[in-house]
């Protein structure tokens, strides 16, 4: 089972890296933000897997906080863009 978890974490990390490519490539800020969102979801999955694999149940709490705050970045991003336009 632990081997499956380790390989799963590796695959999710690979998926995160693919998202990273989109963050680096863009082209627009919206694309970057979207990819950052995907990185967040992959990160939540990785933390859950690591929590079981490394016997660190507290990592579930870390994943929970990341999940609860996952929309903050997008809201801050679109909020500030409109604020800037308003000025």
């Amino acid at each position: 089972m632990s081997e499956l978890l380790a390989v799963s974490a590796l695959i999710l990390m690979f998926s995160l890296l693919l998202g990273l490519l989109r963050v680096l490539r863009g082209p627009g800020p919206g694309d970057r933000m979207l990819a950052a969102q995907l990185i967040g979801t992959s990160g939540v999955g990785i933390l859950l897997l690591l929590g079981v694999l490394l016997e660190q149940p507290a990592l579930i709490d870390v994943a929970l906080i990341l999940a609860l705050l996952a929309a903050v970045a997008a809201a801050a991003f679109t909020g500030q863009a409109r604020e800037a336009k308003h000025d």
């Binding site: 695959i11 694309d31 979207l34």
Partner: protein, 94 residues
């Protein structure tokens, strides 16, 4: 038996994750990429948490796993909406 089901769920979840990432890379524009993220990714996490929940003995942990999935689901929907609206406003110059 439970191990096999849980492993199956996790592997299936990983498939959706990968599909989402590849979609994010390959699809041509922002709006279609939104699709890739919100559909596949959330299903991926859902299957993953289901697979891990089968292993957990504690009810509190299972509840937290469920909450994580719901929170990501809601956040994914909300931020996809915000990003799409932002992009449309930029295009139409409003």
């Amino acid at each position: 038996m439970i191990d096999a089901v849980s492993a199956g769920l996790i592997v299936l979840g990983l498939g959706f994750y990968l599909a989402g990432s590849i979609g994010l890379l390959r699809l041509p524009d922002l709006y279609s990429r939104l699709h890739a993220l919100t559909k596949a990714d959330n299903l991926g996490l859902g299957l993953l948490t289901a697979g891990l929940a089968l292993h957990s003995q504690e009810l509190f942990t299972i509840a937290k796993l469920l909450l994580i999935w719901l929170a990501v689901l809601a956040a994914g929907a909300a931020s996809a909406h915000l990003i799409a609206r932002h992009a449309r406003r930029q295009e139409t110059g409003r």
